[in-house]
Every structure is written in structure tokens, then in C-alpha cells.
Symmetry: C2
Subunit: 160 residues, 2 copies
Amino acid sequence: MDRDDADSTTPDRPRISDATLRQFTGYTMKRAFNVVQADVNAVLEEFGLRMVTYSALAIVGDNPGLSQSQLAQALAIERPNLVVIVDELEGRDLVSRDRVPTDRRTYALQLTSEGARLLARATEAVRRHEARITEGLNAEEEAILVSALKKIEATDIRRS
Amino acid sequence: MDRDDADSTTPDRPRISDATLRQFTGYTMKRAFNVVQADVNAVLEEFGLRMVTYSALAIVGDNPGLSQSQLAQALAIERPNLVVIVDELEGRDLVSRDRVPTDRRTYALQLTSEGARLLARATEAVRRHEARITEGLNAEEEAILVSALKKIEATDIRRS
DNA sequence: TACAATAATTATACATCATACCTATTAAAC
DNA sequence: GTTTAATAGGTATGATGTATAATTATTGTA
């Protein structure tokens, strides 16, 4: 994946073609998303966060008091795997597990004040990352990009 | 009769909001790509292929005689991990490792006739999958989608 | 000839992700 | 009211994906 400026020192390196795959929008989506993912992970690393943990903070922030099951569904990850994520966030005092009086099985998740502060800072950094990533797009292109992606997302057959 | 759909049987299930994340195009990319990936994997499973193994076949088909290192780079995976993939494809007689007389370190990869046949059939199936996924988009939307994704891909900072 | 670099490989460690199973609590059935 | 089913959270575990270090064979270079 390194571009070839075919400088004189390098031996002949015939460009590898991905023509067959490039006919597929899905392939281009994957290539583009790989770039986004690498960049956003680098950004979040400065806050000690990964994509999942940042997303978890954002969802909890938008839905204070939600249960772990609801959070798992929103993040599209399995319940057992969510436990360790919440463990981590709780251990760092970013999220609190509060008992619910009406149903003592469930926890109500909430951001701590430190969690809210970290989320705000990280969100600002992600916004700058987004601006970098989409700097080549004008407003109309980005609007169509987003709406097209949403239409693709809506073709999902699964979903209980 | 009553307000909205809140039908009497279901307990109150307040919709979970992902408003904070939805401000990011990258998040919508991930959600859309998850749908694409699930669908294409289901399609490829019928051929005993995964996304990597299908992509490997396609790249080898487009670049007969390329080396494993070149293939690894094209697929953006590490060399050691590619070995087992080629092992698998070679074991199924879809790809051949041919020795190169001018450089006895490298293998020249090629599709076998069976590999070419399977690639052609799988590609047809993936094409049908793509049609399903993008059926809600008109030609202009899809063109802008692809060009926007390519611009995002081109913002990649890495690449030696 | 000695030394560095490359291609393929092996071994390994780690993160991710899914499944099966368990406890407690609640809701439903009888 | 007791039994039964369903749900929330959790533990343990296995499969898979992915990255790194080190090894062998070969090639290129000082």
C-alpha cells in the first residue's frame, strides 16, 4: 500500500492491481474505514481509550441510567464482553454502576463527573480527527456520503 | 389510537440514543460496514471462503505470479499471517506456489483452474450481494459515495 | 569473503469475539 | 402461593484475528 513514485533507486516494482475488488463499493468502504479507524485509535490512545470504550462513554452520556444489556445492544457487542468494558470504565472512575430499587438485577449506568469531563475532551479530539478525515469533501458530498451510508445500514436483514 | 406506537403489551423501552456518535461520519461508516460485512460473509460462506481468502484469490487473479510479500501488502496483513492463508488456499488447490528460477527465495502465486473457477462464481455472488446492499442508491449517489470514500482513504498518513 | 537485506516460515502472545453456563432476581403460569 | 420461565449480570472458556520476535534460506553488496 505504499505509493510508487518509481524513484530511480527502487527496482521495478510493478503496481499490484486490485481491480476485481475495486468494482465493489463494500471493498472501498473497508479501505476507507481502515484509515479512519487507525487515525481515531491513535487519537483516542492519548486519553487511554479505544473505540469501544469511547463509544461506551458516549452512549452512557446520551442515556444516563441505562442498563448494561441496553448498552451492549447499542454497541452491538455480547453481554459477557461488555462486563469487562464496564469493569474497566468503573475502575477508572469514569462510569458508575448504581443499583435500581425497582429491579435489583439491573445496574443503572451513569457517567461520573470525571467520565463526563473525559468524554467531552475526547469528543473534541475526535471532532478534529473527523475534520482531518473529511477535509477533502464539500458539504454536499459529505451529506450524500452520510445518507448513502445510512441507506446501506438500513438494508440490514438481522435485527430482532 | 394512543400516542405513537407504544403498544400496551411492551413495557416502556425508551429508545437508546447514539446522538453523540452520530455526529461522526466515521461512526456511520462503521455501522454501515458492519452490515455489509455480515452480508458478504454469509455469501462467501457458501463457497467456503472468508473476506480475506476471497480477497486473496481476487488479488492473485489480478496479479498472477506475484509474491507472498506483495500479496500480504496488498491485503494489508502481516506476512506471517498470510502464510496460513496461502497454506489453506494451496491445500484446497485454489492457488499454486511456484518456485521462481531467478530468485529462489520467493514463490510466484497463481490461481489454479479450480481457483479461477471458484473466484468467478464467488465474484458473481458478491456482485448480487452488492446490488442488494446498494439497491437504495441511484447512480449519482453511489458515484459520490465511492469518490468520497476514496478521498477519505487518501488521507492516510501512514504508508512508508 | 563478510555482512546486510529480503522471502518465507515458525512460534508465540495478545486482543477480540462468541458460546455455554451459573447466580440472583423478577415475571408468569398454574 | 408455589412452581416455572425469563431476564440481568457475571465467570469461564474457546475460536479467531492480528502483531512481534526469531529462524532459515537466499540474494545483494561492501
